[in-house]
Amino acid sequence: MAVVSIINQKGGVAKTTTALNVAASWAEQGKKVLLIDLDPQSSATKAIFSDREFEKTIFDVVIGQADIQDVIVHSEEFNIDVIPAEIMLSGIDMQLAAHFGREQILRKKLEPIHRKYDAILIDCSPSLGLMTINALLASKDIIIPICPEYFSMKGIELILATLRNIRSGLGYKIGVRGVVITRFRDRRVVNEVIQQVKERYDLKVYRNFIPDNIAVEEAHHHHLPVLKHAPRSRAAKAYKQLSKELWG
């Protein structure tokens, strides 16, 4: 398995939650996983490490002030390697505006560490900026989490248009690995959404949906993956099954 970005320009669809819990589930299944937080909000970093401060983050790597090997931190609780993010990432588009090859920085930086991992997951921010482009160019394909309760076709169309623009403008073909249904409450709504996604866009939808479950929020607060915090919860079981399905 190669580098995979978790992406949806729509906010709050459980990109970070999915990245964290899939990464932790893979780790539990014996895989060596690296999670890269590429969101200035640093939600993944905070979910894992709480308020711990990092001297160097992905920001320093991207602007060439740190070696990628030196910013990797290990999380015991999640049993994964992490590259943390910081708020400075929000200004990076300006900083790199005149940089030659600005869209391929991450891809190049990942080359030397690729072989150390069974999987590299990238948690993207909900905005379309240079870091999201970097994540996409570093990835073989993408996973799109969608929330059926406030699903919009526009969101999917935006992602597919982004992939098309990358293909024509930057010369990279990036595939959609599949769509993950997150935070579902009502099966009927899920079925309607799946039908639309399959019919209109011919995308794969994973069979293991993630239910809306309080254990997810609680796990966040305890800085643990849900499968450690509440292994019997519906969300933990669903993420465990989903991670197997994603690997297959």
Binding site: A97, H99, E103, N165, S168, G169
Partner: protein, 151 residues
């Protein structure tokens, strides 16, 4: 022609650099003996004709590879011919900035749209045409791009 978002412009290439361009025409259905090709007028006014080949993986998809000058303006149309090279159908004429891929869906045009005629007596411009007005000797600065494209 679509607007050009600077996020999707290869920063390692200068306008006018040669780049490989993957041409893809979807939803094509050819009968025996028919062939489909792209007719493209590049920024120098030169006509390039290239047959498209059926892609094995995707039914109805035909493709070709051209080398074009990055970010220069090109006009192109797709043409279906019979075995005697008689033109059966033409698509509309498209106008795009040359990048890494040109993808269209086959649709025959009702009217006979023609590619821009090139006067072979007039000297051919060697400079890339500047469709959007921002191509110049040096790559544009971020500020210029932001002003131009409203980022």
């Amino acid at each position: 022609m679509t607007k050009n978002n600077p996020l999707f412009v290869d920063s390692t290439k200068l306008p006018g650099d040669l780049v490989p361009c993957h041409v893809e025409l979807l939803k094509v259905c050819l009968r025996d003996g028919e062939s489909v090709s792209i007719h493209l007028v590049n920024h120098e006014g030169r006509l390039i004709q290239k047959p498209l080949q059926a892609q094995e993986m995707e039914e109805g998809c035909y493709e070709a590879r051209l080398h074009l000058n990055h970010q220069t303006q090109v006009y192109y149309q797709f043409v279906i011919e019979d075995e005697n090279n008689n033109i059966l159908f033409k698509s509309q004429v498209y106008c795009e900035r040359a990048q890494y891929a040109l993808t269209e869906q086959w649709e025959p045009s009702e009217e006979d749209q023609k590619l821009p005629v090139i006067d072979s007596n007039s000297p051919v411009s060697t400079k890339p045409t500047s469709p959007s007005g921002w191509q110049r000797e040096r790559p544009p600065s971020y500020r210029e791009l932001m002003e131009k494209w409203g980022f």
